[in-house]
Amino acid sequence: MAKNRKTSWRSYFAWDYEKETEDLNLASEQGWQLVKAGLFHSRFEKNPNVRYRYQLDFREVKGMGRYIETFREQGWEYVNSTWNNWHYFRKPWDPALPEEAYEIFTDRESLEEMRGRLAKLLLIVGFGALAAVITESIECIQQPNLPNLLRILFFLLESCCLLRGAWILKYPRPRQHWRGSVAAFLVLLMLGFLGSQWLHAMRPGLHCSTQAESISAPAAEVQWTDFDIKYPDNYFLDLDVTSNQPIIFTIQNEAGESVYTQSGTSFREEDLLLHLPTGHYTIYLHCEAGYQIDCSLN
């Protein structure tokens, strides 16, 4: 038995809605009629006996009754709407009618209004992403690290893509397309987001405190705690040490070389940048009296 229904996973960028209309008309000619349009997938039914012309409208509609009636009056059948305010209509194709008979925007003003609404939405989201690029960049200049850099890249990609879309809608030029694939774009964004989350989760995230009233054995070197660095990057040390007697605080790598050392009766570090290669690290304390230490490494 031949398949009578199919689901298409093709999706289109907002600024490619004309291409989507073309594709729907072509599918209809081949006997596949759109029955339900969606943001990421659409359902088609096989019916080779009819041929439709499709049109898309983008707007926020308050009362659907008057809206659908306005289209029905001129022979347009309402297909459905997506949650993000795209509305799909179709009209049986009549070879006797000129192409203009299938236009739903018949003056420049209303077409520009529709494209303007789309452009406005893209501008809002695009500038939102640009604002994120700026805040992430400021953060990254102060504390350069990989997860941050990755977030900058994917917000930058997002804002460029959306702002370019808004530009195309405002200043349409015929045949100027590198048409992007929505799927590829979403996968890239996903990878960027998950990648930065993953890198973030791989960081040591060390938070510990310790204190001692007094030391029983004189001049003892204590192995306090240890952590792993999973990828080379800049890490940031916060440290707050107070003690009655001088204390030596040391971070050592596997080879026993100290990557950080500080001594005294009281010292602090705030977001001290340490460039650490991959490996296992151990923190040693050398002290002769009671102490209080708060330490975190991110």
């Binding site: 008057r66 306005t70 236009e103 018949t106 003003e109 209303s110």
Partner: protein, 103 residues
């Protein structure tokens, strides 16, 4: 008085049609085509946008038909503000035409 913006052709013809009495979208579309000798057409998207905007401006209002057989059909009706806006546009167009005569 603040100078009003020139109207789009669609707005102008919709108001012009409604000046002859309340009508529905399809009636407006047909009358516009007839008046303009087929030159001006008003597609559904343009019609919905124009009528929505003009209702917001208070130029037209929505009423329900009470004609037998047409009950509860949506009609658009010109308001006084709408009539004034149409008159102002006609004056503007007449002035432009008059100016053309001086060439």
């Amino acid at each position: 008085m603040k100078r009003s913006e020139p109207m789009s052709e669609s707005y102008y013809y919709i108001l012009l049609c409604l000046a002859r009495g309340a009508n529905h979208g399809y009636g407006i579309m047909q009358m516009t085509e007839k008046l303009s000798g087929g030159d001006v057409t008003i597609g559904s998207g343009t019609m919905y946008g124009a009528t929505s905007n003009m209702m917001k401006k208070g130029w037209i209002r929505e009423i329900l038909s009470d004609e037998p057989g047409q009950e509860r059909r949506r009609l658009y009706q010109l308001t006084d503000e709408g009539r004034a806006a149409l008159r102002a546009e006609i004056v503007r167009l007449q002035r432009m035409l008059a100016n053309a005569g001086e060439v």
